[in-house]
Symmetry: C2
Subunit: 400 residues, 2 copies
């Protein structure tokens, strides 16, 4: 089963024309926009040309269905407000090319999907969330975008054909750009995903005493910024024996009050987010975060409060599907691929509620995504789809 690299790249460039914007190969194609709906009509035609039956559900998730049981391959074709040409689009066109290669080369039955609103104009991966039953259509319809438009109104442009029964699929494979710098830095060409990491996200507030920055001696201050800095410093030391090189944690948001150079900050509200593939580790990190925050507050005379914790559990990739991707990677790029977690969320997280899932990554140049500058070497794109196609061929051989 050989993929046609020229056809693959031509389709990626053709799809990029819908919403082409910004520098480089930038794209502006948010969910349900004119560009998005035109792109989906074009994708539907490519599906038909590949011999697939097109179905669209109420959310606008677009399926190209093979006859009988089939493996589902795809991702999403909506983009960030300022996005690149590959994020999501690559996985959809890869599915299309693998379906064509399977048809041309006598491979197994392959269906293709482009989920809707993965980039979260209305929420987070809303299209696959509704399809998987994680979010009801009624609840989804009430979600509003930043300008106040309700999803229920936005989706009126969808040419609905009916709901698609997940039972017809034997598994789901999503190809994606890495969106991080690991493969680009190491020079490896393929990442086989071990798991999609779990996330914990919690607001923390230190409340001390707002004071005059000239008349308050250091020894009498209860400075909320100093508390955050001390907490952050202590946390790094306490995490050392718990984390792995894949674990990440971030203070990305910080708001000081009153935030003026002549006033000792009386209050600091900040975000603490941490991600890992192992639920136990996420929980141990939570205990450390709470302990260190409490110790810091106590040592510095601060009031401390924790906000509600957002938690998403890690999703392990299916051993069989993952094994097929690993073998294919080892065949095509021996020694130049790695098993790695996905630090970002993907539609596969939702789909894992319905069936076995797996993912593979190709490198992101300089680790950039969600930006016009996002790109991947063409040779890496073609190699990634070839690895995917051969993994699918193996699965077909097994199940037949």
């Amino acid at each position: 089963m050989r993929v046609n690299g020229a056809r693959l790249l031509a389709d990626l460039h053709a799809l990029r024309e819908f919403g082409a914007a910004g520098v480089g190969k930038g794209v502006v194609r948010p969910a349900y926009s004119e560009a998005d709906m035109a792109a989906r009509a074009w994708i539907a035609q490519q599906m038909r040309d590949a011999g697939l039956r097109v179905e669209v559900d109420a959310m606008g998730n677009l399926f190209g269905l093979a006859e009988g049981p089939s493996v589902l391959v795809g991702s999403h074709s909506d983009s960030q407000p300022e996005g690149g040409w590959l994020d999501g689009a690559l996985g959809v066109i890869a599915g299309l090319e693998v379906a064509r290669a399977a048809r041309d080369g006598g491979g197994p039955a392959v269906s293709v999907v482009s989920f809707q609103d993965e980039e979260g104009r209305f929420g987070v991966t809303t299209g696959s969330a509704v399809w998987s039953g994680h979010l009801s259509q009624e609840a989804a319809d009430k979600l509003r975008d930043h300008s106040g438009v309700a999803l229920g109104d936005a989706r009126k442009v969808v040419p609905v054909t009916g709901q698609i029964d997940p039972a017809r699929f034997t598994g789901f494979i999503e190809m994606h750009i890495e969106q991080g710098p690991v493969l680009d830095t190491s020079g490896e060409r393929i990442g086989v995903v071990s798991d999609i990491v779990g996330i914990r996200d919690m607001k923390i507030t230190f409340e001390g005493q707002q004071n005059h920055a000239g008349t308050t001696p250091m020894s009498l201050r209860r400075d909320a910024f100093q508390a955050v800095s001390a907490f952050n410093h202590a946390l790094e030391e306490r995490f050392a024996n718990v984390v792995t090189p894949s674990t990440v944690w971030t203070i990305g948001h910080l708001s000081l009050h009153p935030n003026a150079s002549s006033i000792v900050p009386g209050r600091a509200v900040f975000s603490m987010q941490w991600r890992d593939g192992d639920s136990d580790r996420l929980n141990r990190m939570e205990q450390i975060i709470r302990s260190v925050a409490q110790e810091t507050a106590q040592a510095r005379g601060m009031a401390l409060s924790f906000g509600e914790m957002l938690g998403l559990e890690p999703v392990a990739m299916d051993a069989g599907l993952r094994g097929a991707l690993e073998q294919s990677a080892q065949k095509h790029v021996p020694g130049a691929w790695r098993l790695m977690p996905s630090g970002a969320l993907h539609d596969a997280t939702n789909v894992s509620r319905l069936m076995s899932v797996a993912m593979l990554f190709v490198p992101s140049i300089d680790g950039i995504s969600h930006a016009f500058e996002e790109d991947t070497a063409e040779a890496d794109l073609v190699m990634g789809v070839q690895v995917l196609a051969d993994a699918v061929a193996t699965l077909g051989a097994r199940s037949s």
Copy 2:
């Protein structure tokens, strides 16, 4: 020379009625407001009743002049947008009471002043800045408040009589609430000011790499918040051998970009402010700040930039005036007073360009000022004015 405590307190309460607002003894009396101008008319009448000749300059600085050479005692009677009843007002009424006590008790000639716009509706200590020649009237007139009103228009309500020649004054003494917690914490009742500290204030920017908080491993991040935290931590250690217990430094403003929990911050802009009574120490601290910032930037792959540095030099109090205050404090509250720097700016900073200056502090309950809750025990108010009066009496005895 005995002050009349009941008369002093009655006058403070009477003055508070102009602009009385908020909780406790709160006051809203910004420069040139109706309440401020009415308060100044009332103060002018008290000056006349004390046998002083009232003069008002073009800025609205209000003087009650004794015959011949005299010591000038006072402060300001405008308030913060949300201020207390003592900040500034105390120094003016104290001057009035000392002038009356001197007249009643055969003391030296004492003139009284209430400077205009010390609280900076239009700038910083603008009334005394213009009187001292530090700021021209033309430049001052172009300053605008937060609602866009020019000082040149606001001061049209001033009943100008003419300019007041500083040469008639033998020195200036300003009594003020401490505006900090030192005396309240130690239980001491008087602070004799050694110097008004100098200030350095500089914006610092660390520019790293904005990244996805899920897909970017810790080892590949260039996180601008982490740079600020590391800088802050290293600074404390490096300052240890340079600072004194009176030195202060503050990171009061911090702005992260893009300031979102799921994004590694690419840029951090923050304020670094430090204050000390010694210019050399301020300069040594600046060198350390620049070095530590450069080392932090280098170690973490950050671009670094420094904003323009705001600098105000320390002002030492006059040895003679200060000595008189120290002797008077030791007589009235032996062992319960201290020599201390003023961490806040005052009109005395500007007046020091014209003549010898000195200041004394009374305790601020819980160190609070620039708030409705600002207060000082009545016994401390009376004691402070008595210490001031006896110091003035000593000066009169010397010069006569």
